[in-house]
Amino acid sequence: MSAVPGQTVGPFFHLGLACPQMNELVPPAHPRAVRLHGRVTDGAGAPVPDAVIEIWQADPRGHIVRRPGSLRRDGWTFTGWGRAATDPDGLYSFATLEPGSTVEGRPGFFAVTVLARGLLDRLFTRAYLPDDAEALAADPLLAALEPDRRATLITRRAGHGLVFDIRLQGADETVFLAYPRLRDAWT
């Protein structure tokens, strides 16, 4: 069957996609909360103030939880999914837990979706935890990339947070992903 094409999320997405605490996978005061944040920029290096970032991740033990409650947070249930809109400076932020490794020896990562006004279809990428050099070196996706491009997928630690900037275009453009069935839908 032919997959339905995507279209831009447009400028008025806050109306339909915004929910209270949608970017708080855990309350910011949670003892193990980490701040995943960054800036979304365009090909001129200007901030993108109307982007939506969604993350989907394992819990710290590497379990893929499948619990409802992301749109009506109860403050206790970790759902593994969150959504954030960028602010006028192109900044987004999540309060979450660090994703554990779901496969022995592999690095933990956030699966990331990027939507924006001006972006005609959604983009996928990954944001890896930066700490386990051995696991990062063994990761098949990262190993297939040139070192400078690989770096665009690895978060860096700053203060109590993990920083993941998203560059939609340009010299240090973020690596964006296609999956095989997605590619099939294009041919």
């Binding site: 069957m1 032919s2 997959a3 339905v4 094409p5 995507g6 279209q7 831009t8 999320v9 400028p11 008025f12 997405f13 109306l15 339909g16 996609l17 365009d42 090909g43 001129a44 993108v48 989907w56 991740q57 394992a58 379990h63 893929i64 499948r66 409802p68 409650g69 992301s70 749109l71 759902t79 994703p99 779901t102 496969v103 990562f109 699966a111 979706t113 924006a116 006004r117 001006g118 972006l119 005609l120 279809d121 983009l123 996928f124 098949p140 996706l141 275009q169 453009e173 690596v175 964006f176 992903l177 296609a178 999956y179 095989p180 069935r181 997605l182 099939d184 839908a185 294009w186 041919t187």
Partner: protein, 245 residues
């Protein structure tokens, strides 16, 4: 600012280039796309770990009455009352059951309930333009709403968007995430709209156009439109289908 005639020429030139069934993210007639699309090819990767699963939503997240956009205020919204329904299916034709569908739209006059929409058309105090529902066991979603109006934007001089409803849909895998727009049949603005025309394959862009369905129309109440949402295929193998934990 360019004229519609200049944009028409660009749309026509772009239509000569072979395009796939997805929008071309590099599509200059839509001016905002110029600096906002990656120029490097997408990197093909086999999905793994969380990418093989989708987030779960349930009745905790969505109340039943959120599927009716006409009952969110004290009064009745102005405009043509419509039902929009269809099924969410994966690329192999299997229903996507119990999954979240989110919609947002302009009111009948073509105005969004959003501070950035400055189009001088009236707001409707009885219409917000936001709905959510969970798909049924056979993948069915259903919204009752008001037919949105077309509205102007500033891509070029005299730019108007065809009437549309924004849809946000999840599949059973992260890889199937879809955000798109549903259009209405026979809209005279299709040929002028760079967002719709960014899908350069005519058969593919017609997949975004709902069908009028008289069986969904009810006497003295609403007209009806049917639109099925087919997502991409899944990657999970039978070995993966157990509990992910």
């Amino acid at each position: 600012m360019n004229t519609q005639a200049e944009i028409d020429q660009e749309i026509e030139a772009a239509a000569q280039q072979p395009g796939g069934p997805q929008p071309r993210i590099d599509y200059a007639p839509y001016r905002s796309s110029v600096l906002r699309h990656p120029k490097q090819p997408l990197h093909l990767v086999d999905p793994e770990s969380v990418e093989l699963w989708a987030p779960a939503f349930g009745h905790r997240d969505v109340a039943d009455d959120e599927a009716d956009l006409t009952i969110q205020h004290a009064g009745t919204p102005l405009g043509e009352r419509i039902v929009v329904t269809g099924r969410v299916l994966d690329g192999d034709g299997r229903p996507v059951a119990g999954q979240l569908v989110e919609v947002w739209q302009a009111n009948a006059a073509g105005r969004y309930r959003h501070q950035r929409d400055q189009h001088p058309a009236p707001h409707d105090p009885n219409f917000t333009g936001v709905g959510r529902c969970l798909t049924g066991p056979d993948g069915t979603y259903r919204f009752q709403t008001i037919k949105p109006g077309p509205y102007p934007w500033r891509n070029h001089l005299n730019a108007w968007r065809p009437a549309h409803i924004h849809f946000s849909v999840f599949g059973t895998e992260f890889t199937q995430r879809l955000v798109t727009q549903m259009y209405f049949p026979g809209d005279p603005l299709f040929r002028y709209d760079p967002i719709y025309q960014s899908i350069t394959d005519p058969k593919a862009r017609e997949l975004l156009v709902a069908q009028y369905d008289h069986d969904l129309t009810t006497p003295e109440w609403n007209t009806g439109y049917r639109w099925d949402v087919v997502l991409t295929g899944t990657h999970r193998t039978p070995l993966d289908t157990g509990d992910p934990s």
